[in-house]
């Protein structure tokens, strides 16, 4: 048995260095590694490249690291909920690569799966295609897109065990499984950490081989961006 458990977020992220390339799981604020982000904020590491579907909101998620100017570059698909992000981008203070969401997901998946590049129809004929190889398959044009890799992947799961096996809940899965596989060092935070053997192997979403460090997260805020409810009829 390989014990991957670390005490807390601060210990887990301690060796993340300046100019590191990070992947951060989550869609909007759903399934983001809240504890690791807070620890990075406290540690103050700068020059980070963050690969994440979104950039958080002004005062939560990656938005916190943008505010403290710890982020040098963002690779994302949608950043519409963060005014500070938009300001830094339009002012030329932040490097940004915006990618089609499916291309982002597949580039990360490819990174973890050892596939250096693949063709996709998404973005053909748009500015995303600039400088990229194109090729026709079945009469339709496609773009060559390369894998994405990270020094560290910061993922969040619902349950995990001491071997690093992970189970996600609801739509909090999103980018977390592919990022877990694409990080040289993957740091998983979980709401419930259990001893190996307690999770049903049939239900594991991320096998422990992809996870190097795991810790029991605490004080999850799980902020909701758009709280929409049915009016009682």
């Amino acid at each position: 048995m390989i014990d991957k458990v670390v005490d807390n977020a601060a210990t887990a992220i301690k060796d993340i260095h300046e100019n590191a390339v990070l992947m951060l799981g989550g869609f909007g604020l759903c399934g983001i590694p809240e504890n690791s982000i807070q620890a990075l904020l406290k540690q103050g590491t700068k020059g980070l490249t963050c690969i994440s579907n979104n950039a958080g909101v002004d005062d939560f998620g990656i938005g916190l690291l943008l505010k403290t100017r710890q982020v040098k570059k963002m690779i994302s698909s949608y950043v519409g909920e963060n005014a500070e992000f938009e300001r830094q981008l339009l002012a030329g203070e932040l490097e940004v690569d915006l990618l089609p969401q499916g291309t982002l997901a597949e580039r990360i998946r490819a990174g973890g799966a050892g596939i250096p590049a693949f063709y996709t129809p998404a973005g053909y004929g748009t500015e995303v295609a600039e400088g990229k190889e194109t090729r026709e398959f079945n009469g339709k044009m496609h773009l060559l897109e390369s894998w994405l890799l990270a020094d560290y992947s910061l993922v969040k799961a619902w349950k995990g065990d001491t071997e690093g096996n992970l189970i996600y809940k609801g739509t909090a899965r999103n980018f977390n499984p592919m990022m877990a596989a694409a990080g040289k060092i993957t740091i998983a935070e979980v709401e419930e950490l259990v001893p190996a053997g307690e999770l049903d192997p049939n239900t594991i979403h991320t096998p422990g081989i992809y996870v190097q460090r795991i810790f029991q997260g605490k004080a999850y805020e799980k902020r909701i961006e758009q709280r929409t409810v049915s009016s009682p009829s």
Binding site: F27, G28, L29, C30, G31, N53, S76, S77, Y78, V79, G80, E81, E86, L89, L90, V96, L98, L99, P100, Q101, G102, T103, L104, A105, E106, I108, R109, T120, P121, A122, G123, Y124, G125, T126, E127, V128, W158, K169, G170, T171, A172, R173, N174, F175, N176, P177, M178, H205, K222, R223, I224, E225, Q226, R227, T228, V229, S230, P232
Partner: protein, 218 residues
């Protein structure tokens, strides 16, 4: 002229029984409220859910269950959850039958622009480029003109493109139009109180007008 709900109601009439559908943010999301009861469809959310249900009750709200617009949702019986990579495999693999999304501009050959205004707005394309590059059937919900009255149905898009020759049908506040395979907007229906001349004046791209243009019914 139609309001947003009117556009959503008219698009709901296009939906076929048994389809898997992805709804974009804004008016497209409203379409779900007007799908007739006898029509059974499954709504796909690109953040990893098949089977989006209605908004939850206060007690059921779950931060771990949202749609692509980051709104809290519920799941219908028979739902499935998956990763973003799996979700876009469904989309690019052609398994989603219909995509409904918003637009800033559409050109007469079906090019779509909806993700960027250079120098002003940078929100990103999200899943729109993957969706429009792959879906067999794309319906656009949009306003026919800008607030200042400029046409958004153009010869050529002026804004950065989301996808080339991808739009099949457009429902605006003024009209229902198809994009002809050979190019041009085919006028099919007009909104209540809107004349063919109004639509002509509001359409910059090539407009094909048949002899009889019926008023929309709902």
């Amino acid at each position: 002229m139609l309001d947003k709900i009117g556009i959503a109601k008219r698009i709901a009439k296009e939906i076929k029984d048994g389809s898997y559908i992805n709804l974009g943010i804004g008016i497209p999301t409203l379409v779900a409220n007007y799908i007739p009861e006898k029509i059974n469809v499954v709504l796909q959310s690109e953040n990893g859910l098949l089977g989006i249900g209605p908004f939850p009750s206060e007690e059921q709200v779950d931060a771990d269950l949202i749609n692509a617009g980051k709104q809290t949702v519920s799941m219908t019986p028979g739902s499935a959850l998956f990763s973003s990579a799996e979700s876009f495999a469904m989309i690019r693999g052609g398994h989603v039958d219909l995509t409904i999304l918003g637009a800033m501009e559409v050109s007469e050959n079906g090019d779509l622009a909806n993700w960027k205004i250079p120098g002003k707005m940078v929100k990103g394309m999200g899943g729109a480029m993957d969706l429009v590059a792959s879906a067999d059937n794309i319906i656009v919900a949009m306003q026919h003109t800008s607030r200042s009255g400029d046409s958004k149905l153009l010869k050529k898009c002026s804004l950065p493109i989301t996808g080339l020759s991808c739009v099949k049908k457009i429902v605006t506040n003024m009209a229902v139009l198809d994009i002809l395979p050979t190019g041009g907007f085919q006028l099919l229906e007009r909104a209540p109180g809107v004349s063919v001349d109004d639509i002509k004046a509001a359409t910059q791209g090539k407009l094909h007008v048949p002899d009889n243009v019926p008023e929309m019914t709902f």
